[in-house]
Amino acid sequence: MTSAANTPVEQRSSWLKYLLLIVAALASAVPLIVMLLTSVKTLPDVQSGSLLALPHSFTLEPWLKAWNSACAGLTCGGVQVGFWNSVKITVPGVVVTIALGSISGYALALWRPRWNGLLLMLLSLAIFMPYQVVVFPLVKMWSTANIFGTLFGVVLVHVVFNLPLITVLFRNFYVAVPGEIVKAARVDGAGFYSTFFEVILPMSVAPIIVSVILVFTNIWNDFLFGLIFAGPTGRPMTVELNNIVGAVTGEREYNVDMAATLITALPPLLIYFLSGRYFVRGLASGAVKG
């Protein structure tokens, strides 16, 4: 905040700065504009004009088709089936990950178990590991436990892959909590859980918001786990979308494709535009570790 006053702004480079920012912001906006414009054009309009041309006649037909009746192979149910599947996967995934992550982070930060260092090292490893290393053994485990291809199985996979980062996020937040607060609660006779629920949780609003955004975005945007673990009727929206766009029979309907793509992107985009500050903090938490 204070540095703004101290950092020099030279008149000469000022216009260059704005030029760079404006060009970059426009370039960044192009894909969003392309999706929006294309999704409200008629098919002849798409084929005759350029991607960035304004539509000759505005139509919502592509949106309706993308939502209700776009085909992926033999099924023509649009992306709505995937949308509701994604909701069913994302909501419990977020709730369980954050419930487990907050209490694990609390245990790691304030009660300092033995093996603390080892656990933190394992957590770092888990956060950075490429998913492909363990996907196949997880499929074996899930099949053995009879949860492969079920909703529960997909949710559990997401919990497995989001829990390490969320635990570290909460742990880093709780490390900064003064020990006196916990000691005072302990003197009052509060145990591990009552301290957590009565003292710690009420002051955790910020990390909870940050993690809800982070985990929601992660799970909603996931493709790999949905593809492998969800089974044919439980596929999330990203997988449906890729199937719809990839299923080219005859002429490609770019307007419907772009409408379906935009609908899939909308929930995380809305969250982003409504909560920019917290979204950025979630991003940074991937970078800041303990």
Binding site: S3, N6, L51, F223, D257, P268, L269
Partner: protein, 291 residues
């Protein structure tokens, strides 16, 4: 009594995390490493045959393409986002009007799925719908832009889309580094009559070494993991020319039914990640011991 509650309370709370770390992560990693030393095909079986899978892997043209692509793609993504992201961070650092508008516009790509990123850029980069037809429509009827359809250039399309997706991440991390920079040094540089550009280049950026390192590691991890983007944008094609290791592993394990080979490739991916993060983990652990 209280100590008892404390100990068992903490232990019970950590049980799910520890079970996941030990069973899914350590167990999974161990299983994959083990299977990579067997002759497993469709069905994993524990019939060891030493380094055969690794030897076969590095004589498979598709893997060599995929692994080489990872370095081309990685260099492009890391350099591209670092240079662009740093310039944008510097532009935002000094008192800038509409800072939050610019930030919002530059960061939103990070919120969307790589499938979305891939499909939109597919429309933009495909000649019949995207840039080529647009420029031709403006009058240059011979203009040609078909990177996505050529074996030698398809991987650059992945770089373009990934830079678009990630540039905001580097921008915010670098911006927080710049804002933490000691203002006294700026004053000193000004007194000495050193230009802003030179101060950034010779004083500020070198002092942000750890911040830049963080960006490089985060991007490198993203590069090694890249799967969805390839699937949605190029499908690894034309042919297998824009394949990446992550896609190679999934294809071999789940479509080609070659678990042994897929495991060996996954182990190589994992080793590549370890080379990138071991310094980071060591620094982190030392820091938490100091606490």
């Amino acid at each position: 009594m209280r100590a008892l509650v404390r100990r068992f309370g903490g232990r019970a709370a950590l049980t799910p995390l520890v079970v996941i770390l030990v069973v899914c992560y350590l167990g999974g990693i161990g299983w994959t490493i083990g299977i990579s030393f067997t002759d497993s095909r469709m069905v994993p079986r524990w019939n060891f045959d030493g380094f055969d899978q690794y030897i076969r892997l590095f004589t498979t043209p598709r893997w060599i393409t995929a692994y080489t692509n990872m370095f081309i793609y990685g260099a492009g993504v890391i350099l591209g986002t670092l240079i662009l992201g740093s310039l944008l961070a510097i532009a935002l650092d000094s008192r800038t009007r509409f800072e939050s508008v610019f930030r919002t516009m530059l960061l939103y790509p990070l919120s969307v799925s790589f499938i979305v990123t891939g499909l939109v850029w597919d429309a933009i980069l495909t000649p019949s719908t995207g840039v080529e037809s647009m420029v031709r429509g403006l009058g240059w009827s011979n203009f040609s832009f078909d990177w996505i359809g050529q074996q030698q250039t398809a991987v650059y399309c992945l770089i373009i889309a990934a830079v678009w997706h990630h540039v905001g991440l580097v921008m915010v991390i670098m911006l927080s580094g710049l804002r933490a920079f000691d203002p006294e040094i700026w004053k000193a540089a000004k007194v000495e009559g050193i230009t802003t550009a030179r101060t950034y280049l010779h004083v500020v950026l070198p002092s942000l070494g750890p911040t830049i390192m963080t960006c490089v590691i985060l991007l490198a991890i993203q590069v090694i993991r890249s799967y969805d983007l390839v699937v949605a944008l190029t499908g690894g094609g034309p042919g297998v020319s824009s394949d990446l290791p992550a896609k190679f592993v999934v294809d071999l394990a789940f479509e080609r039914g070659n678990v042994g080979q897929a495991s060996a490739a996954a182990v190589i991916m994992f080793a590549t990640v370890l080379v990138c993060i071991i310094p980071y983990i060591l620094i982190g652990t030392r820091r938490s011991e100091v606490e």
